[in-house]
């Protein structure tokens, strides 16, 4: 029984992910497509440089970069959380 539980735990581990997905990350692909098959007016964020993403998120949060919804969303996270999100999407790839 223990072996079966372990096997299932391993089998159900998120495919290809080492770290757990940070809070808020899964919602982003509602606007920023995770698919390379789609051409969108909203820029994709998966695989973009981490520093670029972190700087953009921090600037949106501080209202230093003009935006429509991004400022309103970025203010739902503290700076450390934004940096974790930036790292997560930098390590992500379009599917």
């Amino acid at each position: 029984m223990r072996a079966a539980v372990l096997a299932m735990a391993l089998a159900l581990a998120p495919a290809g992910a080492n770290a757990a997905e940070p809070p808020g990350a899964s919602a982003c692909s509602g606007c920023h497509t995770a698919s390379r098959a789609l051409d969108s007016a909203v820029p994709p964020i998966a695989g973009r440089p981490r520093d670029e993403l972190a700087a953009a998120l921090r600037a949106f949060r501080a209202n230093e970069r003009p935006s429509t919804v991004m400022g309103r969303l970025a203010r739902g996270f503290d700076l450390a959380e934004l940096d974790v999100l930036a790292a997560w999407f930098a390590a992500d790839r379009l599917r």
Binding site: T68, R72, L73, G76
Partner: protein
């Protein structure tokens, strides 16, 4: 109307705790923030139905083949796993809209070995977002329709049948042909049903005369045809319900786009909105846009001005309020709503007719092992939108995979973004960030809010571009 001589009308409390924000915090579900122990915190802790194996082998002839595929997928995901046990885990998803289809795809993506079955009666889903543009003749119905081919290709079993409810073991979903689909966890995404019994005089037959168009499809096209056929100087009357209902800004987006249609095609026509609320989503923005784009065309009558529709006289194309009768040549009745009937049949809806859930995992507070996502669920401050449904489904899928693997689910931080068109090339938005607090999802203070008032034309145009991009992206993520 039966006047109650000595008492005020038993109208439900309307106001939300947050004041002007879109969506009420539902008090009846708040209060207990202790997470109840859930069934299946470990993968095999749920009581198994001894008949389960029988059902599976009898009713699913393809099991052996899928089993092999499952093992192959396990091998890809984690080559050291040689055991077949994992392939036994099954999650059933009932409802193939933005919540259900997203849940099914996310489950399969996060845990390729998991057996995922989606139950949805319709072969083609008709999406509500942007259907107001179809009503106003700005868009074709074809762009609203989505199938399930991509889900099948990914190894999700799609069953086009209606679900009847849980069987006696509470660990299997019964379909209308008697099939039982056993599950370790069930995701219910039944969407809404229209509360025909909540508005006297309004029933499915009346809806053929006075369309609701609140579930996209034939009703959407019926309302469009009625608008096209209307006389030059006709009056359109809309009835809008009290909260909660699907897509809180939707009625006002619809009013905007109908006004756009009238301005172009029936310049002497008028639009009257009878509303059972005094405060609505993006209210100041909508009213500013109406004054600017459609001056004198739209009249909005709120609750305190006698706007609550109390009954419908379909034959006379008339809406009856506490203070008068309003006839229209075209009448759009958006009736009160409730969670999809399947929610009640599964026992997950409470007396409010919506479904209370744990804000961490969206597991039902009433039936362990069953998760409710999308419009049917009580999500606290989070509105009933397609974006929210998609976001909740991804969180629920991740939580289910964690629970089945014996890991604790992560604390979610769901987001919402919702655009409304006010003209073909103008849009306004509302956004929100939420976190579990006091047993509910609450707004993260300082975040979220609506588009700025008095923004210039380029800002509104930019949001219209983003609105279109959002719909294509979320539809692609949900249906492929």
């Amino acid at each position: 109307m039966t006047p109650g001589p000595l008492r005020p009308s038993p109208r439900a409390k309307q106001r939300d705790a947050g004041g002007s924000r879109d969506f009420p915090i539902r008090r009846e579900a708040a209060g207990s923030d202790t997470r109840r122990p859930t069934l299946g915190d470990g993968p095999f802790s749920a009581p198994m139905d001894p008949r389960e194996g029988l059902h599976r082998s009898r009713e699913h002839g393809g099991v052996a083949r899928r089993h092999v595929l499952g093992v192959a997928a396990v091998a890809l995901a984690a080559p050291w796993v040689r055991r077949a046990a994992a392939a036994e885990a099954r999650v059933v998803v009932a409802g193939g809209g933005f919540a259900g289809a997203t849940a099914a795809r996310t489950l399969k993506r996060l845990a390729p070995a998991l057996q995922v079955t989606l139950v949805e009666p319709e072969a083609v889903y008709t999406a509500c977002p942007f259907s107001n543009a179809v009503i106003a003749g700005l868009r074709d119905m074809e762009g609203q329709r989505f199938g399930y081919t991509a889900l099948r290709r990914e190894g999700i079993e799609v069953v086009h049948r209606a679900a009847r409810g849980l069987d006696g073991t509470m660990r299997a979903l019964e379909l209308d042909d008697g099939t039982r689909l056993s599950f370790q966890r069930l995701v219910l995404a039944p969407g809404i049903d229209l509360g025909f019994d909540a508005l006297p005089g309004y029933d499915p037959a009346a809806a053929e005369i006075l369309p609701h168009a609140w579930r996209a499809g034939a009703q959407t096209l019926l309302l469009r045809r009625q608008l096209e056929a209307m006389d030059e100087g006709g009056t359109v009357v809309m009835s809008v319900p009290a909260n909660p209902f699907r897509c809180p800004p939707g009625p006002y987006e619809r009013a905007s786009l109908i006004a756009h249609f009238l301005k172009l095609r029936k310049p002497r026509a008028k639009l009257l909105i009878l509303d059972a609320k005094d405060i609505f989503s993006k209210q100041r923005l909508f009213q500013q846009e109406w004054a600017r784009l459609y001056p004198g065309l739209i009249e909005w009558v709120g609750l305190s001005k006698g706007g609550k529709v109390t009954s419908v006289d379909a034959g006379a194309r008339t809406l009856v309020t506490e203070f008068g009768r309003h006839q229209g040549q075209v009448v759009n009745v958006i009736p009160p709503q409730r969670a999809g009937l399947l929610a009640e049949r599964c026992g997950v809806a409470d007396r409010s007719l919506w479904c209370p859930v744990d804000p961490l995992t969206f597991e039902s507070r009433r039936v362990p092992g069953v998760h409710v996502v999308g419009d049917a669920a009580i999500m606290g401050a989070m509105p009933k939108s397609a974006f929210a449904a998609n976001a909740q489904a991804k969180i629920a899928a991740a939580a289910i995979v964690a629970l089945l693997s014996g890991r604790p689910p992560a604390e979610p931080r769901p987001l919402n973004t919702c655009y409304s068109l006010t003209a073909p090339d103008r849009a306004i938005s509302i956004a929100g960030v939420y976190r579990p607090l006091g047993g509910q999802l609450a707004d993260v203070p300082g975040a979220g809010g609506v588009s700025p008032l008095d923004a210039d034309d380029s800002f509104r145009a930019q949001e219209a571009v983003y609105a279109d991009a959002w719909f294509r992206t979320i539809a692609h993520e949900t249906f492929g």
